[in-house]
Symmetry: C2
Subunit: 340 residues, 2 copies
């Protein structure tokens, strides 16, 4: 089977965004009423999923998508913990409904109510709630909740440890994924996302986080940002600065996804990084939509690139399925229970 | 001939750093005396160059290096304009001496006395001084003088225009190059450098800077950060967000260097980006030193990768020489004068 480890509900019904707008309006003007939770019918969910992610997944032959709220709308830069908690709860509940309406096609991953500089208690609670009660199989973790100003400590810092303890206890991984850039110098999709992937990888190279949390697991999306393209640079820096070998220190617990939207990029990724450390993903419908005019196929049809890449059957099976089942054991258990 | 467009005087005599340390100490404690300028003999310069950059350039067959003060030591995050001006002047004067001792092998590029949030007058003056009086052929431009907090406007903002006017008048390009990261979340060499390359490229994609400054030219180092690896992403985002086509809007005035330290990276760069937009560079002795243990050759021997890349003779000539002469016309004029 083919598991797409990186999908967001970017096509959610408009009333979700209306709720968010009302939430932010009330934050600016507390005299406004508390906005009611968005009313979204099952039919609306069916329509927005069946006409979009599910239709395209079927066309391309993806079997299951690991699915979370829209990344760029997580809005961790809004400095109000109560707002963040409510927004994460509403978004995750909607993802839960997607997974109950389409249990064969979607598995949930949680948005965490992060706020820069705040303790992680609310994140730990929301992770517990979504995994233990809603059947989610992982979470997204934002290494820069400020939205482009990078004022949080590196992911190797003890600030993050309460969350890692809960992740370890629940045996769920995190996809490292920033939200929108609030910084006019840094474009969300064309810079901030990729910079975060690159930055976090280097934080892990510098640190020894997995010595302390040996079963903690991260997926770094967007093909690892700049990392595979600069693999020689990382190897050389690690040797020169006497960091532990990257393979044992980082790659034992970290994988890259395949959200790289052209053949040369996927060829580089799969030639430089071990197939054990690559998870299939398309992020559709995500940052990049529409067709490559040169070939008249969608930019984000990453399965096409992987089909064309020089890979053994074994490597391809790991990338499409095996690694995701290993990284997300709660998903694996559910699939096994269903005889898949 | 082979022109390496990206070298820094990372091997400068220790008294340069002692001067800097004294400068910073006095900034912290104004009761300390004004430090005297470092005393460095011609022999010291010869020794540090001949034993390092020049020796390696000769071994590899590089003919000329475009040379600037150490990037990671530019220290633009130190918030004192007078200190920045003095430090740039001392560093640039030392580069000038290198270029007079080895006129066939080095051409100077200026450090600018940038300070986040300050006007650019001192940068304009230092550019004028180094180009008009010291024969420099370009400058380094730091898009994030804060050192990893990204609080400056994008390079398309009018804040930067006074510098662009002077660059245009003098007909010199800038290499986009940040200095050290002052941010504990962001490693200087393994994240900040690459993130800056990626961020600035996207700033240029979003804007229309070269409509206003049609002869302004930038070199984006380190192989363009994450950009070529994600070329499909940039094409797709530009189309979706209705930005002008990248080729006409950005690549008419921008080139990437070849500081990518493994064969697959150089192969991707040269297969995705036109040979008209690639400038040979090694950044030796830079971020990455030492040998790749797999092949027992230096990571930063980028000429080796380019020699092995599938390139026509015409493309290789552009990358090694022609594009640098086009981007740095003052260098070209000097070379022609010398019959080279």
């Amino acid at each position: 089977m083919i598991i797409d480890c990186h999908g967001h509900y970017t096509t959610a019904p408009a009333s979700l965004q209306q709720f968010r707008d009302a939430q932010l309006a009330r934050l600016a003007d507390p005299r406004l009423p508390v906005p009611p939770e968005p009313e979204i019918s099952d039919d609306e969910i069916r329509e927005t999923i069946e006409g979009n992610q599910l239709r395209i997944a079927r066309e391309r032959g993806h079997d299951l998508t690991i699915f979370s709220p829209r990344a760029s709308a997580m809005g961790h830069d809004v400095p109000d913990p109560a707002t963040a908690a409510e927004w994460a709860r509403v978004g995750n509940d909607l993802i839960y409904r997607v997974t109950t309406l389409f249990p064969d096609n979607f598995a949930g991953v949680a948005q965490l109510p992060q706020v820069a500089g705040e303790p992680l208690d609310a994140c730990v609670s929301e992770l517990e709630r979504t995994v233990s009660w809603l059947g989610f199989v992982g979470c997204n973790l934002n290494p820069d909740p400020s939205g482009g100003y990078w004022n949080s400590p590196p992911l190797t810092d003890q600030y993050w440890f309460p969350l890692y303890e809960k992740m370890t206890e629940l045996d769920v991984p995190a996809m490292i994924h920033v939200s929108n850039s609030a910084n006019p110098a840094v474009h969300t999709l064309g810079a901030h996302y990729l910079n975060a992937d690159t930055t976090v990888f280097m934080q892990l190279v510098e640190g020894q986080l997995f010595d302390r949390f040996p079963t903690l697991r991260f997926v770094i999306p967007h093909g690892g940002g700049a990392v595979p393209y600069h693999w020689g640079r990382y190897q050389g820096i690690a040797a020169r600065q006497k960091f532990p070998p990257i393979e044992a220190n980082v790659l034992s617990n970290v994988a890259f996804d395949t959200c790289v939207y052209h053949q040369p990029g996927i060829d580089l990724l799969t030639s430089v990084i071990s197939a054990d450390n690559i998870l299939f993903a398309s992020e559709m419908l995500g940052a990049v939509r529409g067709n490559n005019p040169d070939g008249d196929f969608p930019w984000d049809d990453t399965k096409r690139y992987l089909d064309a890449a020089k890979l053994t059957d074994d490597a391809r099976a790991k990338i499409f399925e095996g690694n995701a089942r290993r990284m997300y054991p709660r998903l694996d258990a559910r699939l096994k229970e269903a005889g898949r």
